[in-house]
Symmetry: C3
Subunit: 203 residues, 3 copies
Amino acid sequence: MEGWDPSLLFRIADVAGVVGNGLLGGAVARARRFDLIGFLFLAIVSGLGGGIIRDVMLSARPVALTDPLYLGGAVTAAVIAYLLTLDGPISRRALSLVDVIALGCWSATGASKALAAGLGWIPAILLGVITAVGGGMLRDVLVNETPAIFGGKPIYATIGVLAALEMVALQHYGRPALGMGVAILTATALGLVARWRNWQLPG
Amino acid sequence: MEGWDPSLLFRIADVAGVVGNGLLGGAVARARRFDLIGFLFLAIVSGLGGGIIRDVMLSARPVALTDPLYLGGAVTAAVIAYLLTLDGPISRRALSLVDVIALGCWSATGASKALAAGLGWIPAILLGVITAVGGGMLRDVLVNETPAIFGGKPIYATIGVLAALEMVALQHYGRPALGMGVAILTATALGLVARWRNWQLPG
Amino acid sequence: MEGWDPSLLFRIADVAGVVGNGLLGGAVARARRFDLIGFLFLAIVSGLGGGIIRDVMLSARPVALTDPLYLGGAVTAAVIAYLLTLDGPISRRALSLVDVIALGCWSATGASKALAAGLGWIPAILLGVITAVGGGMLRDVLVNETPAIFGGKPIYATIGVLAALEMVALQHYGRPALGMGVAILTATALGLVARWRNWQLPG
């Protein structure tokens, strides 16, 4: 597979995560009967919020503002969620799958960016998890709900910690692409099983 | 009118917007019987929050911290709102007018600053709207209300999108001062009519 | 006392504040039966949020991400709060004491950093107070409570304003270490008396 570039695959996973989380934001807007502006804001916040918080904390220009695919993906998701209901069993499973793929992808990307900016591995893991869960937290706060990741739901941020840790370890050994792949696979597998078996942390 | 500088007019509109939105923040503090600190925080958040979010996303020092008129305007508004009730019909109309003027002014300023920072026109419109609605959203979240712009109210952010778009177009043709003026006029006219006729987006 | 370095004392006060506020965040997580992730997030937000907001507004890298003692202190606090209940009279008094020490320390640190970044004394006071109260505000917003500092509680942010003002004045006269000491002493004394006598601002 000469010339095969794994970064393309990760970019696809990243933007798919934006669209998927944007659709999840749109679903919240639909449940609350918001208008199109509400759909747009919640899709942008859900899909791009985590990365924006990460970039702002690193004093970097948010990639959400410079790479048109990101904002475009979130706006597309808002429009789709506005036009279609997406609450059939297939839609829900597809959204769930994209969500856990994005969890792994974003945890790894965030940790990797933090390491590249010269941070230590512990703050890198924190930034990885913030990248993965920040958008959903912001969305929950905007609609006056306590962020889902705080408890009473299947583990999610915990999987992000694990994915970020894998990325940090494999980047340390000079294998960032492998780290990204392992993080995505781990988060996808654990995330799906955690929902299926309702794995929770003790409260 | 040789020597006439339109930027002075826009600066007046900008600071009037800070005072007006600061008064709106103070009105929320009054409705909830907050103390003077509550008035100050809500006035600062309402009047300066949108611009601070914009500047932080552009990795720029917030103008709210460097230009004394801004923080001074917000603090003055907090003190006025603390001392006076401002719920008579004239006060309410004046506040409503300043609010829609600020909507146009801030949408245009935010978009213009984003373009000057090298962003594309779509993220520039997003930053324009965030500048205009960000303070009110932060204020609503701080007092546990769902942001008013999400739906069920006369259109507001939609007008900000239009004003930012006008600014982007006219700045593209080298006419930023005209863009600012057109944005303010459009937002003022549409904003007042939208409230009068209760124009809403479909939910 | 040749060779005695007051900055060590202030660093101890600073990190003690992180641990103390982290424990307060953990207590909120316990009251709401959050899981360990909830404890970690609320401890990190409570203990580090104010300083992160300050640093982001100054376009500086958050010290919470670069100095391991800070994130380490918040994580330690989360684990302690998760394992122990800390609601006995001695624990509560100790937490209350650390809280008011941190109020003085953080108001002074924030104001001092803002002055060092070239800001005027009024925005410096604002950033001092944001440093001191920002973490608690974020924590309250995340659990859907109106921030306690807005009213109906003993004065807190007001004491932060005073502490920041003292720091600004004494730094102006070239005595930052004295300013920090005076700010901590003032905030501790006033903070304890305010709670004991339930001093409130008029609403």
